[in-house]
């Protein structure tokens, strides 16, 4: 299915064809082939084993946990898991690559074809996954610390990456953005990658080509190492326009690797196909093929959590949560965890109210104070208690909001706040009737106007009574008693 997205050139409209290769750092304590730590932000070269530094005679030993994470991810992508896979060497020289080759999986990846469902606007679309394979990350070069010299930091060198290759099934920047977002969500649900794009745990190589409707695929360019969803979209927009302009000027697209410059919002040529490396892939003779047995696969399968699509269906169909709420609550694993923790306190019948409260009040407050749901000052149990206090009439909606503001500020329990600050709603009819009498007495002309037919003044009286009651009166009772006082039917 092709989206409505078109690049309009001088001679007509062009479709855009997009495929993504996402590199996701595997969540694992140790590297893919060595025992060195994968911790982020350590002193340069403090997490480097003899294997990572490619000392003479050192040999890689596969970290089974990385394979497990890749297989679990493959299962979450509903992909074919290959019970037999193999590691190959990708040979090239660079100072961030001590071995002179990267150990990767070209010929026999651990995971084969799968699919991801994305939504753009109201449209749901399936994006094919071509493959997922494991490979080593490279180290880092630092060029700006010593004049004329480059420094090498091998902390990242050898860290396990999953390369997840999509089919060229996306046709707009929005679809590409939705794909990365959804993939990131799945990885975080599975726990196989933290999805942290700022720290480089997830980055995308974006393949873009353009064509006129009905034409065969155009020549593609690959934009390397794009590290945010926004940049992925911006890079595609720029690159598609650039290619259309070249074609319309009578030129031809040269297959090449390009870089996205976020400051200028443009892509730049890095190297053309002619300069492309010949990586001389061949099976790594230091490693045995990876053979997965049934017990291993079964463990991977049973260790998988409920995934976002299934969860969303359950929220909608099982809990009766509105579709929009279910989508929002399941988009990120942390949100759904928070919601489900709250639900375990409120009980399922409160699911809809809880979902509304999270998306409205809680998200609003978190947004305002600039915190994510993982470090929300209010706990799910406190949220549940607040809802209960509102439901049982202890707090009016208005009082509830006041109490919530204090919870956000102090992290205190709602009941304690109500107790300490006397914010409890009152249903004491005597006190309310006294307040009504006072209000009517001091606003005699308004009372006359109301009785004369100015119905709209009713709200004014409610407000005055509430004010007199310092906001703590039960609004339903105020309504009823006011109507009674005016002799209106209740």
């Amino acid at each position: 299915m092709v989206s409505a997205y078109r690049v309009t050139g001088a001679t007509g409209d062009f479709e855009v064809v997009i495929g993504l290769e996402v590199h996701a750092q595997v969540t694992s304590k140790a590297k893919l082939f060595s025992g060195a730590s994968t911790e982020f932000g350590a002193e340069p070269n403090s997490h480097v084993s003899l294997v990572d530094a490619a000392m003479p005679g050192m040999l890689p030993v596969l970290n089974g946990e990385c394979v497990r994470q890749a297989v679990r991810t493959g299962m979450a992508l509903e992909a074919r898991i290959n019970p037999w896979s193999r590691f190959d060497r990708k040979n090239y020289f660079y100072a961030d690559l001590p071995q002179g080759y990267q150990i990767s999986q070209l010929y026999f990846p651990v995971v084969g074809e799968g699919a991801i469902e994305i939504e753009v606007g109201e449209v749901t679309k399936t994006i094919g996954i071509e493959r997922l394979h494991l490979e080593q990350d490279a180290g880092k070069l630092i060029h700006d610390q010593l004049p004329g010299q480059s420094l090498v930091d091998l902390n990242r060198c050898g860290v396990a990456l999953m390369e997840i290759v999509s089919k060229p099934d996306m046709t707009s920047p929005e679809e590409a953005g939705a794909y990365v977002k959804k993939l990131r969500s799945i990885l975080r649900y599975v726990g196989s990658c933290d999805g942290n794009m700022e720290q480089g745990s997830m980055r995308a190589d974006v393949n873009v080509s353009v064509r006129r409707a009905g034409e065969p695929l155009g020549t593609r360019c690959e934009i390397k190492n794009v590290n945010s969803i926004r940049f992925v979209q911006a890079a595609i927009e720029y690159e598609a326009r650039r290619q259309v302009e070249i074609i319309e000027d009578g030129g031809a697209i040269v297959q090449e690797t390009r870089l996205f410059d976020p400051d200028r919002g443009e892509t730049r040529s890095l190297r053309s196909k002619e300069d492309a490396h010949d990586y001389r892939y061949f099976p790594d003779p230091d490693l045995l093929p990876v053979e997965l047995d049934e017990a291993f696969l079964a463990e991977c399968r049973t260790s998988l959590p409920e995934l976002p699509d299934a969860k969303r269906r359950r929220y909608e169909e099982g809990l009766g949560i509105p579709a929009y709420n279910a989508a929002v609550l399941t988009a990120e694993v942390e949100t759904s965890r928070w919601f489900e923790a709250m639900l375990s306190e409120t009980g399922d019948p409160q699911a809809k109210a809880a979902s509304n409260w999270i998306i409205g009040d809680l998200f609003g407050a978190l947004n305002r104070i600039g915190r994510s749901i993982e470090d929300s000052p209010v706990t799910p149990a406190q949220g549940a208690e607040l809802l209960r206090l509102i439901a049982d009439g202890t707090l009016s909606n208005t009082l509830g909001k006041q109490v919530f503001e204090i919870m956000v500020e102090t992290g205190e329990d709602p009941a304690a706040i109500v107790e300490a600050r006397g914010l409890k709603q009152t249903s004491d009819t005597g006190a309310i009737e006294a307040a009504i009498a006072d209000v009517m007495a001091s606003n005699a002309d308004m009372v006359a106007d109301y009785r004369g037919g100015k119905d709209k003044l009713f709200g004014f009286f409610v407000g005055q009574v509430m004010k007199a009651m310092a906001g703590k009166a039960n609004p339903g009772i105020v309504n009823d008693l006011l109507k009674k006082a005016f002799g209106d039917p209740v």
Binding site: M55, P98, R280
Partner: protein
């Protein structure tokens, strides 16, 4: 007292245990022998203090009744093994004065078993060579000379040339070697000693500088079969740090030695009779067949039909792996670095140009070529397929026999410089050794006699995977019958 250097591993071990001599005396004798043998250029680094320290420990252990299997035995270590704190060169300039901060699994096992280290042995650069002439530290000179009186310097073979020369010249009772395509067996044959390459995976490759990972195997060279069995037992064993290591118990090979071959079938492959091989080699082979028959074995003719493709297959696979394995020597982290105008690529180029010798460069070029886009299928993929056929050849042959007997090399030792300019002639030296390497099978060379010039010739025994015992036993049967006692006269 007898000259201690005339004794082998088992004799020294037993004599030391029995109190005939101290470990200190043994170490002193061999240290002196190493120093006196410098003219052979067998050692690139001498470590007499290491041998003495181990000897003193052995003497203390003997006093306290805590003898270890190799207590009192000083060994030479091929310079391909990483030895903690001691320079490891791999016979190359590119490693500079690199002294690894770690010990290879094999040497660690030997030292834990009580052995000491006399020094690091010269070798062909990165184990690439069959004559020891490619070493950056100069060729090793064989202690053997032709009987023609010409006194031409002969090669001890390679790549474990320093290892073989050291044993033959009595500079060490036993040594480690490595064998990728004959590098233990051919030098053993050239120098009249024994050497065994075990089943691929028996000895850990961890800490052994890699040449061709799918072929590299460590093994011992020593004066006789028993000594080889003793040393191999100490070197072998599963190592979780090497993914290709064999996860199997190490048999008690020395204890299992028996030269009674009744009920055993010895295969003689017809494809190993090749044109141009001197008649003396064939004659020795015939004698070997007879000795094994005398030992009780049944002789069967077998066929290994893909033998003729083994050498070209080897010279695709080994350089391919080497071209990748040697990429790490780039001057960035350790070893020699040659600064060059320009950038990183220029530094790489200058470093590798100065650091690698001609043979290593040739093999890197061959390996790079056969892995290149457009050539990969024609060379590498095809070679992998042929390798599988060679493995199948052996599997079928071992349905009809228990061990296979062949010559080790197609000639006796040649002169230094005689084949330097003809790589193909040099490569042909490994024609009999390479098939067992490609199939990962245990294979050993034992002396089979001397040629008309008085130079040693070797017989090769190839066994089933994991059947080192069968190989050693056939070797022992030959050893007991060949009466090979000739030794080079000490001229150095």
């Amino acid at each position: 007292m007898t000259d201690l250097t005339s004794l082998g591993v088992a004799q020294l071990r037993d004599g030391f245990r029995g109190g005939d001599m101290s470990a200190r005396e043994i170490a002193d004798a061999f240290n002196a022998s190493v120093a006196a043998g410098r003219g052979l250029n067998a050692f690139v680094t001498e470590t007499p203090e290491n041998a003495l320290a181990a000897a003193d420990r052995a003497d203390r252990d003997r006093a306290s009744g805590a003898l270890k299997p190799l207590s009192g035995i000083p060994l030479g270590i091929k310079d391909l093994f990483a030895t903690e704190g001691v320079r490891a060169t791999a016979g190359s300039r590119i490693l500079g004065d690199f002294a690894p901060p770690y010990e290879s699994t094999v040497t660690a096992k030997l030292f834990a078993a009580g052995a000491g280290m006399l020094g690091k042995l010269n070798m062909d650069e990165f184990a690439m060579g069959s004559s020891n002439e490619t070493s950056a530290f100069g060729a090793v000179v064989s202690p053997w000379r032709r009987s023609d009186g010409g006194n031409m310097s002969l090669t001890p073979g390679g790549s474990s040339g320093g290892s073989a020369a050291a044993v033959a010249a009595r500079l060490a009772p036993g040594v480690t070697g490595t064998d990728t395509g004959g590098s233990i067996r051919q030098p053993a044959a050239f120098t009249g000693i024994s050497g065994i390459k075990p089943t691929y995976g028996r000895c850990s490759r961890w800490g052994v500088v890699a040449f061709a990972s799918s072929l590299d195997q460590a093994g011992p060279l020593a004066r006789d079969v028993r000594d080889c069995a003793i040393l191999l037992e100490a070197m072998s064993g599963y190592d979780p740090k090497d993914s290709t290591s064999l996860d199997a118990p190490v048999p008690a090979w020395e204890q299992g030695l028996s030269s009674d071959l009744k009920g055993k079938r010895v295969g003689v492959p017809r494809e190993y009779r090749i044109d141009g091989v001197p008649a003396e080699i064939d004659a020795m082979w015939e004698r070997g067949v007879q000795w094994l028959r005398d030992a009780g074995a049944e002789i069967v003719e077998i066929s290994l039909p893909h033998t003729k493709y083994a050498l070209p297959t080897y010279y695709i696979i080994a350089p391919a792996e080497a071209s990748s394995n040697l990429a790490r020597y780039d001057g960035v982290r350790y070893g020699a670095r040659v600064a060059a105008e320009g950038g990183l690529a220029e530094m790489y180029g200058a470093t590798r140009d100065a650091g690698f010798g001609a043979e290593v460069k040739r093999r890197i070029m061959i390996g790079t070529y056969v892995l290149s886009a457009g050539f990969y299928d024609a060379y590498f993929t095809k070679a992998q397929r042929v390798r599988a056929l060679i493995v199948r050849d052996f599997a079928r042959a071992f349905e009809a026999c228990d061990v296979i007997l062949t010559p080790t090399a197609p000639s006796a030792a040649f002169g230094i410089g005689e084949k330097t300019d003809d790589p193909i002639a040099m490569y042909l030296n490994d024609v009999f050794a390479v098939p067992a390497s490609l199939a990962g099978l245990p294979a050993m060379s034992v002396p089979g006699g001397v040629d008309g010039q008085g130079l040693p010739l070797g017989l090769q025994i190839i066994g089933r995977a994991m059947d080192e015992q069968g190989v050693l036993n056939a070797g022992l049967a030959i050893e007991e019958r060949s009466g090979f006692t000739t030794r080079p006269e000490a001229w150095w």
